[in-house]
Symmetry: C2
Subunit: 315 residues, 2 copies
Amino acid sequence: MRIGLDMMGGDYAPLEAVKGVKLFLDTVADVHLVLIGDEQALAPLLADARLDQSKYSVVHSSQIIGMNEHPTKALKEKPESSISIGFHLLKNGKIDAFISAGNTGAMMVGTFYSIKAIDGVQRPTISTPVPRENGTFGVLLDVGINADCKPENLVQFAILGSLYSQYILKIDNPKVGLLNIGEEEGKGNLLAQATYPLLKETKQINFVGNIEGRDIFTDKADVIVCEGFTGNVVLKMAESFHEVAVRRNIKDDYMDKFNFESYGGTPVLGVSHPVIIGHGISQATAFKNMIVLAQQMIQSKLLEKVKESFVAKEA
Amino acid sequence: MRIGLDMMGGDYAPLEAVKGVKLFLDTVADVHLVLIGDEQALAPLLADARLDQSKYSVVHSSQIIGMNEHPTKALKEKPESSISIGFHLLKNGKIDAFISAGNTGAMMVGTFYSIKAIDGVQRPTISTPVPRENGTFGVLLDVGINADCKPENLVQFAILGSLYSQYILKIDNPKVGLLNIGEEEGKGNLLAQATYPLLKETKQINFVGNIEGRDIFTDKADVIVCEGFTGNVVLKMAESFHEVAVRRNIKDDYMDKFNFESYGGTPVLGVSHPVIIGHGISQATAFKNMIVLAQQMIQSKLLEKVKESFVAKEA
């Protein structure tokens, strides 16, 4: 298993990326990391970290896509950037997963242009973990790349989220809820009204009905689907509550879990290779967590399960 | 000024309604309250409360619309209910405002059928106060009655919210923000993309651009507009964070402000008479706050300002 990591992406790269690599390699044996970044910048940091040299290799990249560059333009003009090289390696099977905390837009564009959506998946999606008071995690999707959706998109998010919940979060027969503004069928906006009956008849998922804003952080549902507009507002609002708690010196284990940066990143679900997009302010633990997530996605054969589900659905 | 109050609405009616009336009347001189409810149930409570009898009168209602009754059906079959009588009095000018913590759906239906929208207002709306850390309040609208909206609806919400912010919350030249999933113009779903330029060219408001989920509870904008689907999810999610804080014994002045029930209720904006819809679990302070809000709406001539704004816009 070879996992590719962009060492130049994120506000604290490459130092925190190296630290994350060390945290990971110190505990894991059977993964080879492909570190994509500026060789000269990395060399002293890697030497200091005293890593087992058999466990990683460095692929040199001479360019960096800045956090605020225009995604499409940057990818086109910087073929030697760590992100461009990462996608090139992924597309050609030289790595089995690609991770970056760099320019989010460039990661999105790179994902959609370099590697394909899985057959049958109309709209790949990104999700966020949903911390619950009982210590478990749900998943909410889409959280921003699909601002306008059709009912069938939400059904696909439900399938993708269920598989992710089952194989990565290890939840058996995960409960799927539709984010809505009322409990009963028939409530909501036109999209929610049209989506409800489709979810009800989708045999691949365990649909439990509507989930209101007050239920998001409970275990009423393990997978909550919505279009990316509402999902993004929910995610950013939850982040802001965490910031309020930090600013106001509120000490609480559960509130700490709304520090979404610590989770590392979000996988793009529905594409043919594992791609994980990290927060710009990722630090060592976040980098390590992203590598662990990539490993889990590969080991669990999540993408095979997705392919099988969508082939079955097409047939 | 005569303010009508449904004494039978809400989980704690009529006792908490009477207590709220007392809290209000003990401090205010120039308002006459019209208490609509079961005379026999109210008599001993009103006697106990030792109110100045010149400051209120009782209008008997022999029926009650339960919290879970079907709104349209209940209003039709129960013309002697406190809600039906309240709207009858309002429509006929016997009271200048009507307040109820009863069946929300019946209050909505009653509002739209008994009294009219103000000329030019396409979609009346409901809002929620937005507590900010600096102690001030913003306003977010719509929060649930308009789940699907057109761009011009959001522009009208912006005007209604601005007037409310200016005349009730006493904010000079309130900043209007569009709830969105990115900062720049052009971001967002189709609705947000189409609404942005309309808001920019609306001279009656002080448009400051997009507001992301993380900015809702800051003072970036005083009036935040969105369709009622997202607004409702935001409101209920904020309520759930307050419940988390209570459950986890987090003591914090600011978190306490997310106890939306304490504010009393929300006015329906854009209709021709003041109507205030309270939370089902309203208690004394909430009832008092709703009466104060009705008084402010009347004294500030808010509805006259709305009428002038929409006449001006139509012309």
